[in-house]
């Protein structure tokens, strides 16, 4: 008979082992499903994971797609450490894109060095305020933040649709729900001589390093963790849970807003309903997969980015719909949560008890 026992200390080995194990299990599940449908599982999975890594342009695109995921996840990790369940990175991303984009459309005659920081600040402010709504409702009315952030996700999507059908619609756009193309002066510069990789990738990397340093050498972020572990201890140490909640949400929303504006003032180049939305939800998986640790999330964002490109390739090569990405992502998160069990517990074979 097996028994489970709580470990005396969390297992360090399992902390590193569980993400690769979860990835393996998710791939095995995919293999099983594909085989059951009489599809060439091996070829499809190889195409899914390996083909995005095969040439330079795909690699650039992987980093480009990982950028918004990583920036959103960095912010979410602060909330999740404080056990504030912000599911609203999606809405905050759209808010940043919408407001930042609206500003960008009006600043096309400014010089780049002035307009780019301005639109990025506008995006950050918009994302921060959008998250601030949920934070304020949580601290002053105890409204559940999971639900308010999700409602705000839907509202922001409808707001975007409304803006693109009215105030921000391209007058020469043949009635498509799109804004005009941004002027070159409000497009983020590329850091590559060949191909386009926006400077956002560099900013994401810098933010990761910053968060890593703050985590390791400063008490600033530890306060959020304290709030999450034990609210009364936090209060006892003179911290205000309300203020910490507002701060965590504002930082998280600001980063998601930054990701939003950098996406549309970067690879996309205009406000449209066709931006690859869903980044905000995928970032939640990135945050968990990366164990809420900056370096972990860096790798996790690259992996998630590969699954997006892989799904596109598999769609072209084998006609398998892109929805498979979310099946893979959902299964991955489930397996990860399940294998995390072994960090805190061990399974032992019970010896026969003497009578």
């Amino acid at each position: 008979m097996f028994i489970r026992r709580r470990r005396i200390a969390p297992s360090l080995a399992w902390q590193f082992l569980s993400p690769p194990l979860a990835i393996t299990l998710a791939l095995a599940t995919g293999y099983l499903f594909l085989t059951l449908q009489d599809l060439p599982a091996q070829a499809i999975l190889l195409d899914f994971l390996i083909s995005p890594l095969s040439d330079f342009y795909s690699l650039v695109e992987i980093i480009g797609k990982a950028t918004p995921l990583l920036i959103c996840a960095l912010g979410l990790s602060i909330c999740y450490r404080a056990k504030i369940w912000n599911i609203g990175a999606e809405g905050q991303f759209i808010a940043g894109a919408l407001i930042g984009g609206a500003v960008a459309l009006h600043l096309d005659d400014w010089p780049s060095w002035l307009s780019l920081p301005t639109i990025c600040m506008a995006g950050i402010a918009a994302g921060s305020s959008w998250a601030g709504i949920s934070a304020w409702l949580k601290v002053s009315f105890k409204a559940n933040e999971v639900l308010t952030t999700i409602m705000l996700n839907y509202i922001s999507l409808h707001l975007l649709a409304w803006s693109l059908s009215g105030p921000l619609k391209d007058p020469e756009g043949f009635n498509f729900p799109e804004s005009a193309l941004f002027a070159d002066s409000v497009i983020l510069p590329s850091i590559l001589a060949e191909g386009y990789l926006s400077i956002g990738a560099l900013i994401a990397l810098l933010l990761t390093v910053l968060l890593f340093i703050l985590n390791r050498y400063s008490i600033l972020l530890f306060r959020f963790q304290l709030l999450g572990e034990d609210e009364s201890s936090a209060r006892f140490s003179g911290l205000s849970p309300k203020r910490l909640t507002l701060q965590a949400m504002a930082i998280s929303g600001g980063l998601a807003g930054l990701a939003g504006i950098m996406e549309i003032a970067g690879p996309v180049g205009q406000l449209t309903m066709n931006v690859n939305f869903g980044f905000g939800y995928a970032a939640i998986i990135v945050a968990f997969l990366g164990r809420l640790k900056p370096m972990g999330m860096l790798f996790a964002s690259l992996l998630m980015s590969i699954t997006y490109l892989g799904a596109e390739n598999v769609q072209i090569g084998f006609g398998i719909p892109r929805a498979t990405t979310s099946i893979f992502q959902g299964a991955l998160l489930l397996y990860l949560l399940a294998t995390d069990f072994f960090i805190n517990f061990e399974i032992r074979i019970a010896r026969a008890q003497p009578e």
Partner: protein, 304 residues
Amino acid sequence: MDIYLIEAMITAVIRSATPLLLLGLGIIISERAGILNLGQEGMLTCGAVASFLTMLATGSFPISILAAVAAGMILSSVFITPVLILHTNQVATGLALTILGLGIAALAGNPYAGETITAYQVISLPEFMSSPILRAILEHDPIVYLSWIIAIGVTFFLRSSSSSILIACGHAPRVATILGHNVIKIQALATLFGGAMAGLAGAYLALSFTPIWSESIGAGRGWIALALVVFASRQVGRLLLGAIIFGSTDILQLLLQAIGLSMSSHILAASPYLVTIAALVLLSRQNNLNPKLREPRSLGQPNI
């Protein structure tokens, strides 16, 4: 306003309240048992695709409904197994279930996007009850009737003495264990019931409400229902009231047209979500003050 407009509005309110009522009943039972399943949207959409595909294949409404219920229960077991055995975080597990469920539904329904089926026919009232208002209230398809029967059943169950075991699991699972109840079994059954209800709500969406397949058929109703249950502080009567209020936001457009106002359809489409936030704000604080309406103490907590 003429009588036909009122008739149309009552019908529309009941129709859009039904999926929320069904989802809410399932959520009430599982949350009373201490389980917070955020996977409602995934289970709802999978229920919808299961019933839609079964309807295309068999043409039988009862079989399609059963398929949806089964789909909801299968997905809820995917949620509850890791939660109960491996103590996974319920918020994250529920979220994973939603992502997984939406993916499965999109994949399964992909070849049939935009296809339609014949909607469930309403059951006609006998000739002598021909008042338009009465017809608007009573003339519906069988799933609506089923939702009323289940609502009555859940109300009686929550008043019966056997529900105290369920509520004990939600407030103090350890005490329930000491008293000799199998908490894991009770929580698993409550969650399975929640899955069945979400599946049934999905069947209603696909077979009656919008009998044309689109992967966004759920339109956030799973999340709205979760908020509605907070609003209702897990009471069936309040849930019914909430579902009707939310159903009314769906017919806002109809109402505005009647009084000659026009408004952007995008802004109107956002109104149910705004109302949800308003409802959460208005009631969250009040519910925490009244001990009878407080949320189950170990809701969403792992029982280790």
